[in-house]
């Protein structure tokens, strides 16, 4: 598999990369096909319980995924301008701006998706999501189903929160059944739960192979593969593809190969969403210095493993942006220790208030506990106007120098 990466030969259809890429593309194709058949399709926020549409057999598209794709292909600024012309402030999350623009213009060369008949909104990643979907629902005049999962200021999820969220899961299922005529069956739910568990276990196992030195993969891979974890976790193909991914990483460990090209001199954890418009610049800035980003919170975040409905409810209350500083910190500390991470690189993401709003303090606490250096750079996941390559280079260089001096190197 590593040869494939090195020689850039046509992708092997049996490779995880090919399979995962196909699942991500098929999601749009399948949704369009469902729409063409006259079925109702939804737009869905990324951490909405995918088990619900999956069990009901409803096709959904993920605006955040689309926005990331549009941004990576260079369309971010163009779409942001469309919504800004409508009065949206350029301080609003760029995913929201891109999607609100798309909902209006309905066609982009970068990535299209079918128009929605309903919206599935879950705010366990941010409350910005509620505002964004409210406006979509109003503009498109379609129903919005909300599952409110509040930010949890405590380490553990309280019984009151589980009860509240569970009641909303039930309500959402009922609303969707009435709206679409599809039926929830326990049997199908069990199946989805099993696939979701299998996919999650394989993902956790694959990402944990970073514990080896050198790591069998370049962490930027995770940024691409996570789309499948978010959107297709409950599908059989996803489980199979993730298992292939794990197998490939294991093979790399045995053969000493890696999808990280060049010598792995340093290992870092990357914090935040990728700068999609500058994926190449951000990745080259690391690679050229022999830095492998071996892990990110995504490695841990998408392990949705649970045994029953209540377990599922709890899992959705425990996603990264819904947990308090101490819990979020400890998750990162664990990843850092298990994967022998030497530095922390933080993306202060102009789009994401919640992710960046207490990251400075969390970084200090992580750095102190793990005795590693940390630096931050300013950027944006999708609006290209908020990133400076020069600043990025300077910060990464600074991080490299500290990591080198700690090793007693040159």
């Amino acid at each position: 598999m590593s040869n494939e990466v090195k020689k850039k030969s046509p992708p092997d259809p049996n490779s995880a990369k090919f399979k995962l890429g196909k699942i991500a593309t098929d999601a749009y194709v399948d949704a369009q096909a469902a729409k063409d058949r006259g079925e109702m399709i939804g737009w869905c926020s990324s951490n909405f319980p995918v088990e619900i549409p999956e069990t009901l057999g409803l096709a959904v598209c993920y605006p955040e995924n689309q926005a990331a794709g549009i941004a990576a292909r260079g369309g971010g600024e163009r779409l942001c301008n469309v919504s800004e012309d409508d009065g949206y402030s350029n301080d609003i999350c760029a995913y929201a701006r891109i999607n609100l623009a798309y909902a209006k213009i309905k066609d982009t060369p970068e990535q299209n998706m079918p128009e929605p008949d309903f919206l599935l909104c879950c705010n366990n990643i941010c409350n910005c999501m509620i505002k964004w979907y409210e406006n979509l629902a109003k503009d498109l005049n379609i129903p919005m189903i909300i599952i409110d999962i509040p930010f949890n200021p405590d380490y553990d999820v309280s019984d009151a929160q589980v009860a509240y969220v569970k009641a909303q899961f039930m309500e959402a299922i009922k609303q969707l059944e009435e709206l679409t005529g599809k039926k929830w069956t326990e049997e199908k739910f069990q199946e989805v739960m099993e696939y979701s568990g299998r996919t999650s276990r394989a993902w956790l196992a694959a990402t944990s192979e970073a514990k080896h030195t050198p790591s069998p993969f370049n962490g930027f891979d995770l940024l691409n593969h996570m789309a499948v974890m978010v959107t297709a976790r409950g599908k059989k193909e996803a489980a199979e593809a993730m298992e292939v991914l794990h197998k490939e990483y294991l093979e790399n460990v045995e053969t000493g190969n890696s999808t990280f090209r060049g010598e792995e001199k340093h290992r870092i954890i990357f914090e935040g969403i990728a700068c999609w418009p500058y994926l190449r610049a951000t990745s080259t800035g690391l690679k050229s210095r022999g830095i492998n980003m071996v892990t990110t919170i995504y490695a841990d975040a998408f392990g949705f493993i649970y045994d029953d409905f209540d377990g599922m409810v709890k899992a959705y209350c425990n996603v990264p942006n819904a947990m308090n500083l101490e819990h979020a910190r400890d998750k990162r500390v664990k990843l850092i220790k298990e994967n022998h991470v030497e530095g922390l690189l933080v993306h202060t993401n102009r789009s994401c208030k919640l992710w960046s709003g207490f990251m400075a303090e969390m970084s200090r606490q992580i750095a102190a506990e793990c005795e590693i250096p940390h630096v931050a750079f300013d950027g944006d996941q999708a609006d290209p106007r908020n990133f400076s390559e020069a600043q990025y280079e300077t910060r990464v260089q600074g991080l490299t120098e500290i990591m080198e001096s700690k090793k007693g190197g040159c």
Partner: protein, 374 residues
């Protein structure tokens, strides 16, 4: 007339000296709990025999808070944290911070490390607040606040006391609604004055504030009504307390005849109604709240509400005062703008933050707006 002046001065004095107020209450051996925005359950603090003191930050330079918040977090959050770090709340027993927007969630998390001597008490509100499960979750949130307050202050909670406090708060709500309407007949009361009346409410025990407002209303009704030639404005936003901005409105003969501002009338839209227990009554009050950017409403009722205020008060236009980096408001702005356009209601967007010193652009914008309204 002097009675009126004196009455107004009281509001101005209190509005401009929250720290003095805090000190006064502490000197009277009262415990004070700081209440961050928005919809913090002050009634609970009050019922436990303490003084709830609101804060919406201050117009100060941000230094220390910068090491916690990135620059793109609103100045309300930045300055509340800055005040905390600087010791401006010294002596307070706790701070309650609800988490109704993403920036508020972050304030609580940052508070824990930066202001260690004032315990952070979270209030987690549901967005799906109207259904029974939502009310139950609000109630559980209140119970948690009570437990944390008991631990932090040693005071205890009693549902019967809460009934009394709710009555005091309901009375205050009513008087504030009455005041807002009453002021419309008295164009000599400036926008600066009006703000002082609203702002002072956060720094006082509510029955004291009610008494002051009643005095003011009675002084007003003693004065002779004069012709009102002012331009009638509805304001909407989170915070409209910048004196420079308010003076610009006054200089341009504008009168705020109604508002849907979070730190002003949004506080007083809804009363708590009787329920099985006082705590249930408070939970239902939150469920009934609406027309606010931080409260989920799929119909975007806030847009029609704004339009409704304009027609109810025969206003000439709307001024949307945007607190920079406030994303809930930034989303609602687009909907309010559309709703106003449909009804041909002129709307002006003014963006402010607490560190702003130069209001010349705002002045020009307001002057131009005035021309349109004429």
């Amino acid at each position: 007339m002097s009675g009126l002046k004196e009455s107004l001065q009281k509001f101005h004095k209190i509005a401009s000296s929250p720290k003095e107020q805090l000190k006064n209450y502490l000197a009277q051996d009262k415990k004070v709990v700081i209440c961050a925005p928005v919809y913090t359950p002050e009634e609970i603090v009050h019922a436990m025999g303490m003084v709830p003191m609101g804060t919406w930050g201050a117009d100060i330079e941000i230094k220390e808070a910068k090491t916690y918040f990135p620059a793109f977090i609103c100045s309300v959050m930045q300055s509340v944290l800055e005040l905390g770090i600087r010791g401006e709340f010294e002596g307070a027993s706790a701070i309650i911070i609800p988490s109704l927007c993403d920036s508020l969630k972050c304030l609580g998390e940052n508070w824990k490390s930066s202001v260690k001597n004032i315990p952070f008490i979270p209030m987690v509100y549901p967005q799906n607040r109207k259904a029974d499960f939502g009310k139950a979750f609000t109630k559980a949130g209140y119970e948690r606040v009570i437990a944390d307050l008991e631990k932090a202050t040693g005071q205890s909670f009693d549902d019967a006391k809460l009934t009394e406090s709710i009555a005091i708060y309901n009375e205050h709500n009513a008087i504030m609604r009455q005041l807002s309407d009453c002021l419309n007949d008295y164009p000599e009361i400036t926008a600066v004055d009006r703000n002082a009346i609203f702002q002072s409410a956060f720094y006082m025990e509510k029955s004291e504030h009610t008494a002051l407002v009643k005095d003011l209303i009675s002084e007003l009704t003693k004065t002779e009504k004069t012709a009102n030639n002012k331009i009638k404005i509805v304001t909407t936003g989170i915070l409209v307390d910048a004196e420079d901005l308010l003076k610009i409105l006054d200089d341009n003969d504008m009168q705020i005849v109604a508002d849907n501002v979070a730190s002003e009338s949004r506080q007083y839209h809804v009363d708590a109604k009787p329920a099985e227990t006082a705590l249930d009554s408070l939970s239902c009050k939150f469920a009934d709240m609406d027309n606010c950017s931080v409260l989920f409403n799929v119909d975007k009722a806030i847009a029609q509400y704004t339009v409704g205020l304009v027609s109810k008060y025969q206003a000439n236009g709307v001024i949307f005062v945007m607190t920079k980096f406030c994303d809930p408001e930034e989303f609602d702005y687009v909907m309010i703008k559309k709703a106003c356009a449909e009804k041909n209601i002129p709307l002006l967007l003014v963006e402010i933050d607490r560190q702003m010193t130069n209001y010349e652009q705002v002045r020009t914008a307001v002057e131009t707006f005035k021309e349109i309204l004429k």
